[in-house]
């Protein structure tokens, strides 16, 4: 199997996620971009599992999903608190701490 297209796709997804984190202001969207990065990694893991012919990568992908789910729970809780306090989900508004 030629893994290049899969790895390429995963790299593109990772890059999009990465750039998304940098250019978007909405905390939820940034967070979705992080999830995109995690899923790009998942794709790479599964591809490599296929290349190497063992299941470690696939099992790892399951763990990543679990972790991502836990992260969602914590992350949304934090974002929601901020939103309720400030009536804004823009990460640029939360910049009292600086210098």
């Amino acid at each position: 199997m030629d893994p290049t297209p899969f790895i390429g796709l995963s790299a593109i997804l990772f890059t999009i996620g990465c750039i998304g984190v940098l250019v978007r202001r909405n905390a939820i969207v940034i967070f979705m971009c992080v999830e995109l990065m995690l899923n790009a990694s998942n794709l790479a893991l599964v591809t490599f599992a296929r290349v190497h012919g063992n299941l470690d990568g696939q099992v790892a992908a399951f763990f990543v999903m679990v972790v991502a789910a836990a992260e969602v729970v914590v992350g949304l809780a934090i974002i929601m608190t901020i939103f309720r306090t400030r009536r804004s989900a823009s990460v640029d508004d939360a910049s009292l701490l600086k210098y």
């Binding site: 940098l22 940034i30 990460v91 640029d92 910049s95 701490l97 600086k98 210098y99």
Partner: protein
């Protein structure tokens, strides 16, 4: 520890006919078992006073402070005589306390080395220290934080004793940092004065520069020899490559420059005079500032193998002795004039230490006599200030010899000693250094000779401005002699200033130091030693005469003591009145001095302060990068990731 030098017949490294001594320790027994107590007593005193707090210890802190140091002095004295009674080969006593750091091959012990060199230092530190403690009882009488002052003084003494008693470089470093801390605390003791706080900070920062040398030097010693203890290092020092020894020598020289206020790290010492006068006497004249000389002499087994570093020491010493002397001429503040003189005298010691076996013993000899007479003069200056309501400007003094007779007489003893009046202690010690430096190089010898002349000039100026001439006192000043508790130490120190030269009687001090620094080597000189003594005496006489002609002879009669600014102006006009002197000597000299002082303030301080400012500026600029926006932080993470990956790929895929 004591078994580390197993051989009973120490291998003597021959170099230029001089035997580099190998430290061979014998275990501590008898009175030497008490060595640790010498350090522990003042440390305990400091702990009780500082941890107990000022209010609770107010009643007894000064007594406790004096008692601990006197106790240390007593033990030092007994140990000294016990050491005197031993054979020359058994005079390095090692006491192992506990293993401080033991990490794999790296091992440093908390262990003490008591040998002739440290014995002399102990006597100086605890002896002069005791006198200064006693003096401080009177001097600090009216200061409500006197208890804390004594706590700091005790802390200083303990750290200084640690410095000279440790048997390894790490222990020296511990003491080194300890005295730096105590010095910092004491310079800034009158913290309500911004100038004192600034001076304290400056001293600390400049000293840190030197400390880098000490730390790196210690690490290099360990990396080279696998140990930091003096004894094993001295055994194998001859086998190390010269380049390493040179690096070590230069690093320790950097350290010495910081602690001993040598050019180019000298700038802090003048500002350090913001501290109370006993501090100036104890720390910034008699003991701490000589730590650099101690380090160089103690590391003789390193310097003897590296001519480059030795030459560097000589150059630093020579430059400093002139630099300090010239600054001393320009200062009107009595303490600053004395501080300039301290720099200059330590320059002499460094010069002697840089001469290697020709000068180690004389460096220590001069260090001792200087400890006596400079402590004497600083305390004398303190006594004068006490009399003059803490005024330090010599232009407000004059004609004090009647008002404070004891101070005057004791100060005069110190004065005669420092200019090298024949028979006084300074004469013997400085004369030897000048003689030895002529053996090294005529240029260095001439510089040392000129330095002696300038010393005579500015010390005479101080003497004349303070005690002779017309009264130029501030309004409402009624000079009075200090209490007994202050004058008795002055008298003792004055006696020592006069008699200190006796140490050289029968070559006692040089023979005594032989086990620690090696036998004194002698150059072939062009003239007999007494000719040199004569020349030095003549040069000193010339210096005194010039001072008399410029300062002493030209007094303005009937100056009104009430009118301060007029007095000051008159004194200045008086000082520069003689047209001939002005044109030929004072004016150019003054300009030169002003230039030097200016360079000292702007150039050298500028470098220190400038570095600080540069860092602060950088800090101020870069903190703007911390914008507070998550996304810009994420960008820095991303750029970091790119940096890391690129660094990896660049290294590996080229």
């Amino acid at each position: 520890m004591t078994s580390s030098s197993a051989s009973l017949f120490p291998r003597l490294a021959e170099e230029g006919g001089h035997a580099v001594p190998v430290i061979h320790q014998v275990p501590a027994d008898g009175v030497f078992a008490l060595l640790w107590v010498i350090i522990a007593l003042p440390a305990l005193g400091a702990a009780i006073i500082l941890l107990g707090g000022g209010n609770r210890t107010k009643g007894f802190a000064h007594l406790l402070g004096c008692a601990t140091v006197l106790g240390s002095f007593a033990i030092s004295l007994v140990s000294f005589f016990a050491l005197l009674g031993r054979d020359e080969t058994d005079r390095s006593v090692g006491q192992f306390l506990w293993t401080w750091v033991d990490a794999g091959s790296f091992r440093a012990d908390m262990a003490l080395l008591y040998d002739p060199l440290s014995a002399l230092f102990l006597l100086l530190i605890t002896g002069v220290g005791s006198l200064i403690h006693l003096y401080s009882i009177g001097y600090m009488e009216h200061d409500e934080r006197r208890a804390r002052f004594f706590g700091y003084l005790n802390l200083f003494v303990a750290a200084m004793l640690m410095l000279v008693l440790s048997d390894n470089y790490l222990g020296v470093f511990l003491g080194w940092e300890g005295v730096g801390l105590a010095s910092y605390l004491l310079i800034g003791f009158w913290q309500h004065k911004p100038s004192a706080a600034v001076a304290a900070k400056k001293a600390f920062v400049v000293n840190r520069v030197g400390d880098i040398g000490m730390a790196l030097g210690t690490m290099l010693v360990f990396a080279t020899f696998g140990t930091v203890a003096f004894a094993p290092v001295s055994e194998v020092a001859g086998e190390a490559p010269t380049a390493t020894m040179t690096a070590l020598g230069l690093l320790f020289l950097l350290a010495a420059c910081g602690k001993s206020a040598q050019v180019p790290l000298q700038s802090w010492l003048l500002d350090a005079m913001e501290g109370p006068t006993p501090v100036s006497a104890l720390i910034h004249a008699a003991t701490m500032v000589t730590a650099g000389v101690y380090l160089v002499v103690r590391s003789n087994f390193i310097y003897d193998y590296t001519e480059v570093a030795q030459t560097a020491v000589v150059v630093v010493g020579t430059v400093t002795l002139l630099w300090g002397a010239i600054i001393g001429c320009a200062k009107d503040d009595i303490k600053k004039a004395l501080a300039g003189s301290t720099m200059s005298q330590i320059g002499y010691m460094m010069l002697a230490a840089g001469l290697g076996p020709y000068g180690y013993a004389f460096a220590i000899f001069h260090l001792l006599t200087h400890g006596f007479f400079k402590a004497n003069m600083f305390l004398g200056a303190g006594s004068v200030m006490h009399a003059m309501n803490d005024d330090v400007d010599m232009r407000h003094y004059g004609a004090l010899q009647k008002a404070v007779p004891v101070t005057f007489l004791t100060f005069a003893m110190g004065y005669l000693a420092i200019i090298g009046f024949p028979g006084f202690s300074g004469f013997w010690s400085k004369d030897k250094i000048i003689e030895a430096s002529f053996g090294e190089s005529t240029l260095v010898g001439l510089c040392a000779l000129v330095g002696a002349g300038i010393t005579a000039f500015y010390m005479t100026r101080v003497m004349l401005m303070t005690f002779f001439g017309q009264k130029r006192w501030e309004e409402g000043v009624h000079p009075h002699e200090s209490p007994k508790i202050m004058t008795v130490p002055l008298i003792v120190l004055a006696a020592l200033s006069v008699l200190g030269g006796l140490l050289l009687f029968g070559d006692f001090v040089t023979d005594w130091l032989t086990p620690a620094v090696g036998a004194v080597a002698h150059h072939e000189l062009a003239f007999a030693p007494w000719v040199f003594s004569l020349i030095v005496t003549v040069v000193v006489a010339v210096g005194v005469t010039i001072a008399w002609l410029t300062v002493g002879r030209n007094e303005v009669p009937r100056t009104a003591p009430q009118n301060v600014s007029f007095v000051t102006r008159a004194a200045r006009a008086d000082l520069y009145g003689d047209a001939l002197n002005e044109e030929l000597l004072m004016r150019p000299g003054d300009r030169f001095v002003t230039g030097l002082v200016g360079f000292d303030d702007k150039g050298v301080d500028g470098v220190v302060n400038g570095t600080g400012t540069a860092f602060a500026g950088m800090s101020g600029t870069f903190r703007k990068l911390q914008t507070g926006y998550v996304r810009s932080y994420a960008l820095s993470v991303l750029s970091g990731a790119v940096l890391v990956v690129v660094a990896l790929l660049a290294v590996n895929l080229t």
